[in-house]
């Protein structure tokens, strides 16, 4: 099938289907470029022409994934994920040319949200989908959340969150088990806390640890809903809640689920994961809600900012008093 396309008001073509894909992959045309082929009543944007079942449309077999560069659908075996986005092997030549010319991976620019890879786990496979999602969220949160699905149910992101946080939590529990006697021997530990833990561990023994491990998913689930709810309220207060609560929860799940694996690193893992999680969360919310980075930072930090401001005021007052006292002495 031969295509014609519009460029600067001039009709170009005819070109074959493969050439059209190459132009799309290299960024010469986009899915909003007007195209026409035999059988079409009128010129239409390429994305619409391919999706609407017109003459140029493809019938999409179930499970096939849409290539970010060409906008066409391919079986999962012909898809590779680059920067968290699916690209087809067919687009390789165009991708290379696009990177050489523009320095960045080409995008159809239609803003379609299908990611992250965990959303395509049925096609990609369970473990590859987890790995690709973690990698994309941690290493390139901006690109990943530009294409994150804003809706589609809570089960998928919650499953990801609970699974990864459970693994991280179990690792934390194992480390705590190994150091519990050091923990209890710490003189700074409040006596009532020491007593409570000693009673639990002495009376419960293995039951206490197994119970904690089994109850972890429930704690994680509750914590996720509560924190996402607080985060969404913060976004509303900061005029940043441009999307629904579902978008906030999905964003939170993908970020915090991905950083949970840092807990596997002994001692400092949880702190590193926590800090990087907050940074990623700010970038992610800015992309998924379509707000500025500053507004996202405000919303993420608002729940803790009140305390930080309080501490700042306290130390400010102390320093102020100290300086004024010095002034009196001099």
């Amino acid at each position: 099938m031969n295509w014609y396309y519009d460029q600067g008001g001039q009709r170009q073509g005819p070109i074959p289907e493969a050439e059209l894909d190459r132009l799309l992959a290299s960024g010469t045309i986009t899915l909003s470029t007007l195209v026409w082929c035999e059988g079409m009543a009128d010129w239409q944007p390429l994305g619409k022409a391919r999706a609407a079942g017109g003459a140029g449309a493809e019938s999409v077999p179930e499970g096939w994934i849409r290539c970010t560069a060409t906008g066409r659908f391919f079986p999962p075996s012909q898809i590779v994920y680059l920067d968290g986005k699916p690209y087809s092997a067919e687009a390789k030549a165009g991708l290379v040319q696009g990177v050489m010319q523009g320095g960045e991976l080409p995008d159809t620019g239609d803003g379609e949200r299908t990611g992250p890879a965990w959303e395509q786990r049925a096609q990609l496979g369970f473990f590859p989908a987890i790995w690709q999602t973690i990698k994309a969220v941690l290493l390139d949160p901006n690109r990943t959340f530009e294409t994150m699905k804003r809706d589609g149910g809570l089960g998928t992101p919650l499953g990801y969150m609970v699974l990864l946080r459970w693994i991280g939590g179990l690792a934390g529990l194992v480390y705590f088990y190994g150091t519990v006697h050091t923990f209890l021997a710490n003189p700074a530990l409040p006596p009532e806390m020491r007593k409570a833990f000693e009673t639990f561990i002495d009376n419960g023994g293995a039951f206490f640890w197994i119970g904690m491990a089994v109850m972890l998913p429930l704690f994680i689930l509750l914590g996720t809903f509560i924190y996402s709810g607080v985060l969404h309220l913060s976004l509303m207060i900061c005029s940043g809640a441009k999307q629904s609560f579902e978008t906030t929860l999905r964003t939170y799940c993908y970020v915090m689920g991905s950083v949970a694996l840092f807990q596997v690193i002994p001692a400092c893992g949880a702190s590193i994961g926590g800090i990087w999680g907050l940074v990623c969360l700010c970038m992610a919310l800015a992309k998924t809600h379509g707000i500025s980075g500053g507004r996202a930072v405000c919303a993420v930090l608002l729940p803790v900012a009140v305390c930080c401001i309080g501490i700042g005021l306290f130390y400010g007052a102390i320093i102020g008093m100290a300086l004024s006292a010095q002034g009196v002495h001099h």
């Binding site: 809706d151 589609g152 149910g153 809570l154 409040p190 009532e192 806390m193 409570a196 009673t199 639990f200 429930l218 704690f219 509750l222 809903f225 509560i226 709810g229 509303m236 207060i237 005029s239 629904s244 609560f245 579902e246 009140v306 305390c307 309080g310 501490i311 306290f314």
Partner: protein
């Protein structure tokens, strides 16, 4: 605000928040019953000054014990939040059990949204000032 049926695929907030609040209440009850200590407030530990949520646990304890006056005095905003949660749970349980239409907010005009934000910040600040003044 309007009453309407859930759209296909729409988040069922009533089911989610009823479940979350009941499960949280059950866990809090188990925690308190088992004698586990409550985590200390870092701001209070460091400065001796209450944070905006200080006294919320004591407020819940008083409220569950039926001493609503003391519960209100210890943290008025937390008490109002618990009452609001109880009312919401009642509403959620009713609409879920009877399969009734849900209450949903329409798009707010800009001035209403701004007023609500300012009111929320002012309420949190006033409540915090009360907690600091009372030395909770």
């Amino acid at each position: 605000m309007i009453w309407r049926r859930l759209r296909p695929g729409e988040t069922d907030h009533e089911a989610i928040w009823l479940g979350v609040s009941l499960a949280s209440l059950a866990l809090a009850w188990l925690w308190l019953r088992s004698g586990l200590p409550l985590p200390a407030c870092p701001l209070h530990e460091l400065t001796g000054c209450a944070c905006p949520t200080c006294g919320a646990t004591r407020c819940l304890r008083f409220a569950l014990g039926g001493d609503f006056g003391a519960a209100f005095a210890i943290n008025p905003l937390a008490f109002c939040a618990f009452v609001a949660m109880a009312l919401y749970d009642l509403y959620a349980a009713t609409v879920l059990a009877l399969r009734l239409p849900r209450l949903r907010g329409e798009e707010w005009p800009a001035w209403a949204g701004k007023s609500a934000r300012i009111a929320a910040i002012a309420t949190i600040a006033a409540n915090w000032a009360w907690l600091v003044w009372r030395g909770v």
